[in-house]
């Protein structure tokens, strides 16, 4: 038989390679934007027609190229960004493979004008399907302008696979937004079919977010910054009640490169714990800065996924950074009791109250002794102060925070309880000057705080305290294993079996007693003593699933549920009478928990009514 294997022509090879890099107009936009940013541009324009299928134009004011470089740039594996294999270990630019322009040129008609600042004349290059059609000197602005016309004109298959115009445009917008979020110092202009979609001036990180998502959204964000020797995390996370129904507004970057990573995404989500209802996703923008040698970006054709040297350390770091930020901020819903001018009638309608400028009074809280109460009240206040003072200290990032108080956003129609904006957390939760503390209806605890009235639901407050205690107990206690009379045999899938095998020491720590029987069969001979009788196999399966999803199993859902129900049953009930000491101790303990604002089931614990709101209710005009 004749030989059947032959080398593909360069043309086909290029088209195949292009297929990986340029999947759709949005990928071309991404590659061109990355080139522009790598060229040091401070101002960028993206102009698309017909969602990029007719033309994509990316204009930057970066370094530009010499005529010879301009021509070479379209060759495959031609790049200025790396030169040796070692450079691959320390990639600081967005691109590095030298494939983008070649790939785009292989499947479209490209025209590039470029000029370096030291030259008077720029050069024009036209390439169609990788064939040079024209190269000539031309007048050009400093920087590079690339126009991609008729993308996929010579690969009709790919062209037919494009989604609707709206979908493709959305993808391009997404790419532009992701870039704009993390490069706030660069001006972005984004035009689609003559319509200007974005015109962003250089700002700081916070300002850029406000421009992109609106002031209201921005005010709901909490700044976050955490630094260790090898890793810095910086950005903003959304308040829980501004959660979205989709993951679209989650921006994760590694060294300012937009990436997707399920594990880190889960870490953020996990940090929100019970603050989120099911199906809601927090808004966040997080940039992790780390030594490029610790992360491999060369694992995905569009560089959307990366590999970390130590993924579980990254997971924990992100989890703790986000959890800490959430814990430090005043997440107390501030409510107003329905305004007189409300058109929706008198029934208690709550609405957003904008905050009061951030002011801390650290240190000037008087020490008080309440008569009859033999606990150190000053200690209570200091503790509360400490918790809530922190977030003001946090503001060393480049972001600035809105402090204006006059802006009263419109009343949201369905969501009734909202949070104060950042920066106003200050000392609002310090119970003032030994002012009396009351119990209302044997159900709620009321007290005066600097900015108004604080209301605590006694049952859920106690529930939160007991829940955290129970969880801590589970984590600290030695595992106890109840041996089973009838060992349970379960048949696992091959991958679960391997996982179980690797996890045996871990599962034993949780209290399981397992024997591997081969052929994907596991025999459970003992179970953690605190889990419900009868659900052994289910619990093991859950633990394995949990591990597969998150690569860690610090807790078992079964235990968490146990802690929740224990806390709920053991907590004081609505209707229990409390004396002053009991109330103060309760509040002291509440603010010592990790998350004093919501109970384990997600109900709010603390509500605050500001003086402003009270003034308004009583018809007192506020200056």
């Amino acid at each position: 038989m004749a030989n059947t294997i032959h080398i593909l022509s360069a043309d086909i090879a290029n088209k195949i390679a292009a297929g990986e890099v340029v999947q759709r107009p949005a990928s071309a936009v991404k590659e061109l934007l990355e080139n522009a940013l790598d060229a040091g541009a401070t101002s960028l324009a993206v102009i698309v027609k017909d969602a990029g299928s007719t033309s994509i134009q990316v204009i930057d004011n970066g370094n530009g190229m010499s005529p010879a470089d301009a021509l070479l740039a379209f060759q495959r594996h031609a790049t200025s960004k790396i030169s040796t294999a070692q450079d691959l270990e320390a990639i600081r630019t967005l691109g590095f493979r030298g494939e983008a322009l070649a790939s785009i040129a292989a499947v479209s008609q490209v025209e590039m004008k470029t000029r370096q600042s030291e030259n008077d004349l720029g050069s024009l290059i036209r390439i169609e399907g990788n064939e040079l059609k024209e190269q000539s000197p031309t007048a050009a602005e400093c920087g590079t302008a690339v126009t991609v016309r008729n993308l996929f004109y010579n690969t009709p298959g790919r062209r037919n696979f494009l989604k609707t115009r709206n979908t493709e445009l959305k993808n391009i917008s997404d790419v532009v937004t992701r870039m704009a979020v993390i490069y706030p110092e660069v001006a972005f202009l984004y035009v689609s079919d003559e319509e200007q979609l974005l015109d962003l001036k250089p700002k700081d990180a916070g300002g850029r977010l406000a421009d992109l998502f609106g002031d209201k959204q921005f005010r709901s964000l909490l700044p976050l910054k955490e630094t260790t020797d090898f890793l810095t995390i910086e950005g903003f996370i959304g308040r829980p009640d501004f959660a979205r129904k989709s993951r679209a507004e989650q921006f994760l970057y590694i060294n300012r490169r937009s990436i997707m990573n399920r594990s880190l995404n889960h870490a953020v989500f996990q940090a929100y714990e019970h603050l989120m209802v099911k199906g809601a996703f927090p808004f966040y923008v997080l940039n992790l800065t780390l030594d490029p040698a610790k992360v491999d970006v060369n694992v995905h054709p569009s560089k959307l996924e990366v590999k970390f040297e130590n993924e579980s350390a990254m997971y924990r770091f992100v989890l703790h950074a986000v959890r800490k930020t959430l814990g430090e901020h005043d997440l107390v819903p501030s409510v107003s009791l329905g305004s007189a001018e409300s058109s929706l009638g008198p029934e208690g309608r709550l609405h957003f109250l904008s905050g009061i400028g951030a002011q801390t009074h650290l240190g000037d809280i008087p020490q008080v002794q309440s008569p009859g109460a033999d606990i150190d009240l000053g200690r209570v206040f200091r503790k509360v102060e400490r918790r809530i003072g922190n977030d003001v200290v946090q503001k060393d990032g480049e972001a600035t925070f809105p402090t204006d108080t006059d802006h009263q956003p419109p009343v949201p129609p369905e969501r009734v309880v909202q949070h104060l904006p950042i920066g106003s957390a200050g000392d609002q939760l310090a119970i003032q000057d030994g002012k009396p503390i009351w119990q209302v209806q044997n159900k709620y605890i009321l007290s005066q705080i600097r900015t108004g009235l604080l209301i605590v639901d006694q049952h859920v407050a106690h529930e939160r305290i007991l829940y955290e205690k129970a969880v801590a107990n589970f984590e600290n206690s030695l595992p106890t294993t109840q041996q089973l009379l009838f060992p349970q045999t379960i048949q696992l899938t091959a991958s679960d079996y391997t996982l179980a095998k690797d996890l045996i020491p871990h599962l034993e720590k949780l209290g399981f007693d397992l024997k591997l029987f081969g052929k994907n069969t596991v025999v459970i001979e003992g179970i953690p003593a605190d889990v419900r009788v009868g659900s052994e196999t289910q619990i093991l399966q859950d633990v394995l699933d949990e591990f597969r999803n998150n690569e860690h199993t610090e807790t078992m859902d079964a235990r968490d549920n146990l802690a929740k129900s224990f806390a709920c049953k053991a907590a004081i009930k609505a209707g229990d009478r409390l004396n002053t000491t009991e109330m103060l101790v309760l509040i002291d303990q509440l603010f010592a928990t990790q998350m004093p604002y919501v109970c384990p089931h997600g109900r709010p614990i603390v509500v605050k009514i500001s003086v402003d709101e009270l003034d308004r209710r009583f018809g007192r005009t506020v200056k």
Partner: protein, 371 residues
């Protein structure tokens, strides 16, 4: 349908069957008690479709017929009446029931007896006869070990096994097990293997008196008959776990201890065990049993010494104190005998002196001690 009866007599009969009536049901007819008058006999029947009970009393009958009477209102009325003659008069076409006494009359709306589910009858002559006491004892000592886990229906009932003239009752929840064996049944050829739901046995033990009782079985149902009362229950059609294979035969360490002494000690020490695991630790050496518990979460601990008769090797073994308390309090006699193997092997507990014709064995799985 018409009859006269003393309110006390009626109340006694109602009390027998009313335990079956479900408090909530999607089938409203089940919240009724079926009255059926045949000459001078009134039969009362109630069912929750799993378990049914029927009882008869003598009345002065006037007019045969049957009707379903709302259980709750009827019972509350009868209970509130003093001892008095009651005329029960039901119009079966309109389902209107009138109860007339010297003091006044009470009208309530019944349901047609045709709506009421048929009470299954066990036919055939596969039956055994037990004394009421025996039955009661058997139920009392097995029911506590039955599992409440609906995912393993077989364990939610008590296994009744008849083989070679022996009767065995077995209950387990996967952590502990009870096996009671009676010898000397008079039917050596009978062979049964049925699982009776816990609810049925609960009702049996409540209504059984000291007369002789018969237990009869057909393919899907078991029936207990005591006097004029019968209880019929669907059996759990599952295969019971192979309990014989988990009873260790070579537990060589034998410990004899005063049952009440140990029970009281465990009860006290368990107060200091962890509230989630209830673990108590038994440390056994020559003629000394030490029971200890520690609650790391709240920093409590307790230990007690109990004299015992033991000559084996020293052994440390952990148990869930609730299981140990359950077992010790359901065991007969003054002295309990433990047969132990290793610290992860099932412990066998028997009364030191078995009753005649009876062999009781209880078994509990230990908790692994982490030191």
């Amino acid at each position: 349908m018409k009859f006269t009866v003393s309110s006390n007599e009626l109340q006694k009969a109602l009390a027998k069957v009313s335990g079956v009536v479900p408090s909530k049901s999607t089938l409203p007819i089940l919240e009724n008690i079926l009255f059926k008058l045949t000459k001078n006999t009134l039969q009362l029947a109630a069912t929750d479709l799993e378990v049914s009970m029927a009882a008869s009393i003598d009345v002065k009958g006037n007019d045969d017929g049957s009707i379903a009477v709302p259980a709750k209102r009827l019972m509350e009325t009868i209970r509130a009446l003093p001892e008095i003659q009651l005329l029960f008069n039901a119009d079966v076409s309109s389902n209107k029931i009138r109860m007339i006494t010297d003091m006044g009359e009470y009208v309530l709306m019944g349901e047609s007896s045709e709506e009421f589910p048929t009470i299954p009858q066990v036919k055939g002559d596969e039956k055994i006869t037990l004394t009421g006491e025996m039955l009661k004892n058997m139920i009392h000592r097995t029911l506590f070990a039955v599992s409440s886990d609906e995912l393993r229906p077989a364990m939610t009932g008590v296994l009744l096994q008849v083989k070679d003239g022996d009767l065995r009752a077995v209950a387990t929840d996967g952590h502990r097990l009870v096996r009671i064996q009676y010898t000397g049944l008079k039917q050596p050829k009978l062979k049964w293997d049925i699982i009776v739901p816990a609810k049925a046995l609960n009702l049996v033990s409540r209504s059984v008196d000291n007369e002789t009782n018969t237990v009869s079985v057909d393919g899907t149902h078991v029936q207990f008959t005591f006097g004029t009362t019968t209880l019929t229950s669907r059996v759990i059609e599952e295969s019971y776990p192979n309990y014989e294979s988990v009873i260790p035969l070579d537990n060589d360490k034998s410990l004899a201890v005063g049952r009440d002494l140990l029970l009281a000690a465990v009860r006290r020490v368990a107060l200091y065990s962890s509230s989630t695991t209830h673990q108590v630790r038994c440390s056994i050496r020559k003629n000394e049993l030490r029971v200890m518990a520690e609650d790391i979460d709240f920093g409590g601990e307790a230990k007690e010494k109990v004299p015992c008769d033991y000559s084996g090797e020293e052994l440390e073994i952990g148990f869930n104190s609730t299981y140990l308390i359950d077992i010790l309090s359901h065991l007969d006699g003054d002295e309990a005998e433990f047969k132990l193997g290793t610290s992860v092997r099932a412990a066998i507990i028997t009364p030191a002196h078995q009753r005649p014709n009876e062999d009781v064995l209880m078994l509990v799985m230990p908790m692994r001690l982490n030191t």
